[in-house]
């Protein structure tokens, strides 16, 4: 009886928070994000079922780049421009969790001080809690919560990334990759990874030596890419792009704000392009397809051990494996078990 009561109490609490969020209560928004951070998919499930019809309205900008490239400062500048237009802006800033202690030092807010008390702005710092890929496990859910809360714009700032952290692409409508001068040569620019998910390249710290060289390298990389025609043979394409959008390269100084209004124009033109070309819809379809697979994997994984271990048949299978005969290797046995599963689920 006790656990049952507890779970209905927890559900009542979530319901209450959602109601408060609908009335614009910022503390309820914050608490809901804490709930998805701590509670994982079991809690996210309850919240998303409730708020999902209220989402899908925010424009989501992703900002990624190496540590110290100016992500937080640029995030603040971009947010300021949209706040000036009277829009409601949400920021999710992700920083890394220590693999040693499990602790984290989240310092992105420091760069956003100038807007702290603007009631149209909601900033949330998140530790990635060991998740690779540049975002935290609960970032997607936090985006949905800020979306339902009524944010016109949500800026997601990733942890400082290297070359292959491309999760942001699965969440943002428009992705900015910051490439400051003085880091690597033109070979870095033609490598795979984050250069491929870019909608707009930002060469930040334009006042430093090498900024123009950086721009040239990126433009050259884009030129090379445009002239290559090869068949896409990978059916599990991880990136949805349009050949019609050549990522523009823009220099900025996030500290002084130089060129930020021009950057906003580029963001807005990509937003328009995505809408009219159908790119946005394609990306969303891709994303939610993967989101569903991730959710199924999570719940399936949880179930599967229990299902297999609690079934006495598993011992027969293990005996077969231990016989070392043809067709009794662990892969063949797993295939047989998978077959049994699919019959159970889909017949």
């Amino acid at each position: 009886m006790e656990p049952l009561k507890k779970s209905s109490e927890a559900e009542f609490e979530l319901q209450n928070l959602i109601e408060r969020m609908r009335k614009g209560d910022r503390r309820a928004v914050a608490r809901l994000i804490t709930k998805v951070e701590n509670g994982g998919p079991e809690v996210s499930k309850k919240i998303l079922k409730e708020i999902y019809p209220e989402t899908g309205k925010s424009f989501i900008i992703g900002i990624t780049g190496a540590p110290g490239s100016g992500k937080s400062t640029l995030t603040n500048q971009v947010a300021s421009e949209y706040l000036k237009k009277g829009l409601k802006v949400g920021i999710i800033a992700v920083d890394p969790t220590s693999p040693f202690s499990g602790g984290a030092l989240l310092g992105d807010r420091i760069r956003m001080k100038s807007n702290f008390t603007n009631k149209n702005l909601f900033i949330r710092s998140m530790a990635n809690r060991g998740k690779l890929g540049g975002l935290a496990m609960a970032t997607k859910e936090a985006i949905h919560i800020l979306d339902a809360y009524g944010s016109d714009l949500i800026i997601v700032e990733t942890v400082g990334v290297g070359q292959s952290e491309i999760d942001i692409f699965k969440s943002a409508h428009t992705t900015l990759v910051i490439m400051p001068p003085g880091m690597g040569d033109e070979i870095q620019a033609i490598k795979a990874g984050i250069t491929e998910i870019t909608d707009i390249f930002v060469v930040n710290k334009m006042d430093r030596d090498g900024a123009d060289k950086r721009v040239n390298e990126l433009e050259t990389m884009l030129d090379i890419g445009e002239n290559i025609v090869v068949d896409q043979i990978n059916h599990n394409v991880r990136i949805v792009k349009s050949k019609k959008w050549r990522p523009p390269v823009i220099k900025t100084n996030a500290l002084s704000g130089e060129n930020v209004p021009e950057l906003i124009k580029l963001i807005e033109s990509h937003r328009e392009f995505s809408k009219t070309s159908g790119l946005k819809k394609k990306r969303l379809a891709y994303r939610y397809k993967h989101y569903v697979v991730d959710i199924i994997k999570y719940f399936q994984n949880k179930d599967i051990e229990h299902l297999i271990f609690s079934n006495p048949k598993i011992n027969d299978f293990v005996d077969q494996i231990l016989s070392y005969k043809t067709g009794s290797d662990p892969y063949s046995i797993s295939e047989i078990i998978l077959e049994l599963f699919s019959k159970r689920y889909f017949s």
Binding site: R26, R27, A30, R31, I33, T34, E37, N38, G39, G40, T97, S98, F100, S101, G102, G103, A104, L105, L106, G107, R109, I110, K113, F116, T117, F122, I123, R124, S125, A127, R129, M137
Partner: protein
């Protein structure tokens, strides 16, 4: 997954000495806590707004300027206005003994002065969380 203790470390007022706040932040990080460091020169409004948005379990205020007698009560007053009653608030820095009672009266749970061991703060936090 599971609960991580979230803390905000804030420097209210005009005092620019943040070595202590950084040491505390680093120490708590190493103890496995999540620290949101908000930087120097925070007004009570800034701090309360950060608490509203970040939903921390703990707020740690570091001050060395002597203005705690004004700023701490102001922050706690704004907490009341916002209805925030489940955040543990701690103070640190240079706070004379005779002020400690007054600070506790306005709702600061404990004051940690110079020489405090980080582990002492960690233990206190873990023993006094309000939710």
């Amino acid at each position: 997954m599971g609960k991580n203790i979230r803390c905000i470390v804030a420097k209210p007022g005009l005092d620019g000495h943040d070595r202590g706040a950084k040491v505390i932040s680093r120490g708590l990080r190493d103890a496995g806590l999540e620290i949101i460091y908000t930087g120097l020169h925070q007004t009570p409004d800034d701090i309360v707004e950060s608490v509203v948005q970040e939903d921390p379990d703990v707020l740690l205020l570091s001050i060395l300027s002597g203005a705690h007698t004004v700023l701490f009560p102001e922050i706690m007053k704004k907490f009341k206005e916002e209805g925030i009653d489940d955040v543990l608030v701690l103070g640190g820095g240079i706070i004379p003994d005779e002020d400690i009672v007054k600070m506790k009266e306005v709702g600061i749970s404990e004051i940690f002065g110079p020489g405090t061991k980080i582990q002492e703060i960690v233990d206190y936090i873990k023993g006094h969380l309000k939710r």
